[in-house]
Symmetry: none
Subunit: 225 residues, 4 copies
Amino acid sequence: MARSSAPTRRSTVQQDSTDPRDLRHQALADVRRQSVLDAARATFVELGMEKTSMRLIAQRAGYTVGALYSYFASKEEVYGALLAESLERLNQRVRQALDGVADPAQRLRGSATAFFGFYRENPRDLDLGFYLFQGMTPRGLTPELNEKLNARLRDALQPTQEALQELGLPTQRALEEVTALFAHTVGLLVLSHTGRIRMFKQASQDLFNTYLQQLLGRTSAGAKG
Amino acid sequence: MARSSAPTRRSTVQQDSTDPRDLRHQALADVRRQSVLDAARATFVELGMEKTSMRLIAQRAGYTVGALYSYFASKEEVYGALLAESLERLNQRVRQALDGVADPAQRLRGSATAFFGFYRENPRDLDLGFYLFQGMTPRGLTPELNEKLNARLRDALQPTQEALQELGLPTQRALEEVTALFAHTVGLLVLSHTGRIRMFKQASQDLFNTYLQQLLGRTSAGAKG
Amino acid sequence: MARSSAPTRRSTVQQDSTDPRDLRHQALADVRRQSVLDAARATFVELGMEKTSMRLIAQRAGYTVGALYSYFASKEEVYGALLAESLERLNQRVRQALDGVADPAQRLRGSATAFFGFYRENPRDLDLGFYLFQGMTPRGLTPELNEKLNARLRDALQPTQEALQELGLPTQRALEEVTALFAHTVGLLVLSHTGRIRMFKQASQDLFNTYLQQLLGRTSAGAKG
Amino acid sequence: MARSSAPTRRSTVQQDSTDPRDLRHQALADVRRQSVLDAARATFVELGMEKTSMRLIAQRAGYTVGALYSYFASKEEVYGALLAESLERLNQRVRQALDGVADPAQRLRGSATAFFGFYRENPRDLDLGFYLFQGMTPRGLTPELNEKLNARLRDALQPTQEALQELGLPTQRALEEVTALFAHTVGLLVLSHTGRIRMFKQASQDLFNTYLQQLLGRTSAGAKG
DNA sequence: CATGAATGAGAGTTCATTCAT
DNA sequence: GATGAATGAACTCTCATTCAT
């Protein structure tokens, strides 16, 4: 996990000390950091980006506003951590969808639909991503964190790409297709979320299914079927 | 063009007084309003949504803050006007792409590519749309303006839908395809814009072309080809 | 009427010129000034003190904001004029109540009740008076206007005092009683208007009648009765 | 005393934590809140309602504007607190006037005169009441605070009513008389305060005494005397 | 005379962040 | 480490008044 820039904090996974007192401190700090994140997520889900302030997060977490800065160096770091968490949940959902499924076509459908479904059901998680790439200062999104987040996003798309390869697409084609699928998914979600075109509210799922079907048709499975 | 509710302004489309003094005043007012809008757009393009304030717009327009409120009743009205303008430019570009083109397949490619190209080259225009559909209060985005903006967006997609119908798709299918195309386009643009996946910066155009090609393949033109 | 301090305006009653062109100008100016006042009164009655701005008055009068300053040197002068008008209407109502009434007790009741009734039915006219004596700068309320307004207020109370004298009270006693009656009236009106004590809304009229009855009892009419 | 809704404050009357650190914090917070209130009152007494702004209060209290909002959620809450304080002082004065006085007639005179005297000597306290009942938004004047303020006002009038009953008036009559007395008092005060009739400055006390004397005359004490 | 655009100061309010305790 | 009061700059918006045309 990326280190925050706050002075006295310890990273969660970097264990540079075996002093048991340090370890206990570390565990406590992690728990508290997590409780702050929980409050932040809840507030954010309820009120959205604009109305979520550090004060409010502190309040709901049962901390003082100053305490937040012991765990996060800035507001944007909070969002960075939220996004990391969000991507973790996304990956978890994708993995669950694949659990015990062997058929490549099913794996393609499962992983892609899990991805789509996750953001469809949790539109705030979509906001999270956009916020970070629009309003974020260098301070909040370090290159390391950025790379880590990118990696987790690729992880979530990886099973889909692999399924495409299992279905006969060469690596490069599979990469292109998964990228296009990703874009299509995001487009549907964004339009559905902003509600710009009323039709989307109901139809985004159908449009997604159709695209997925066409994609399957471009694989050997589709060629055979 | 619909006018704001600010007190001392007169609409351009109202019953035209033939008093030449009125006309000159109106023209002057329009010029000034436009100069404010220009400053707003420039500021917004340079600094983005979040950092663009009325103060800043005023500064760059060479006005005091109070003067802005002679032209726009609120900050959100400024954005409403900016978006309206943006959609106007979008439509213009789409129309130009169709000018003198008779072949339906070419018309499909032309209009869709114009749409995509417009936002690819002017990413802030994309922001504009999203902002309005997330943060806007009733005051800034009146139902009338909202309807107008929706209509202009539909206008920009209309030629693409018509081309699809000319290429043999029934109305319903054409509507679905243009919606899917719209989503795909937006997805590519959003990902390209946020720079989430580095590949997109170069590849979004290719991916768009590929999607367009597949779409053509789903029409009679494609069936024949 | 008090002269405004605006440079090029002419007073309504001061006729320092017999040039017929001046007279016509004067008449026109008076008409316009009156129409501004009408708009001001209407706005003020509808929206109250706080929300009535020069812009709004100008708008409703069909003038530009600059034009208002041709007729009134400041916002407070507008209110001064409104109050003068209000006192005129008050006096008119008091006179009407006395018209054709000879019996002193009836005249007492009539004039006092007219006074009370006027403000009870037109609570904004009460506001007017208070505003001028709280927020007013020297500029708006010149000593001359102040004296004039005071005189008109005394005029409205004069018939009541005279009735008291006709009923046998010596001048000094009559003055005291009319002053006390005035205070009582204002107190009832203010409390009724602010709605602080709910009872007042219904009871202020009863309380007024009771006070009036007691007052009558303190005159020879009361002594006899 | 009821506390404002500002985020980081704690109520004085909440279940008292016995943590001495909490207590000290609370005491400090109360002191600071009080110092803001003192500055607000002073500013208000000196400059009046209209010219008292949050900036000015902050300046005089030696705080920045933002700090004020730690103690009061809005400008109107400041005024609410000021009025509450004012009513407290009023009640205190009324109680003092009754201390050790047994004779009902004396109690009537004492409590009523205390009420009158309080506002006569502190005219800004009168303003306070009027302001709150005219311009206050729901945020500043919550129903609870409103009820509390009303109750304190009734408290201040209660001894007078009780004295009237002790002097032989039935409950209903006593209520009417105290209401009329209240109105008379307010009327005298308002006129004295606005200086509308110059005479009032000197005579309002005499007029009050006279009214009080007449009132006494309408009780059994008066009947006997 | 009238216009109405423009001023300029000021309003209330919010908020991420800091720092003495 | 935690506190939470305080900062200070920023925000949108309002308004009486002025003045070149």
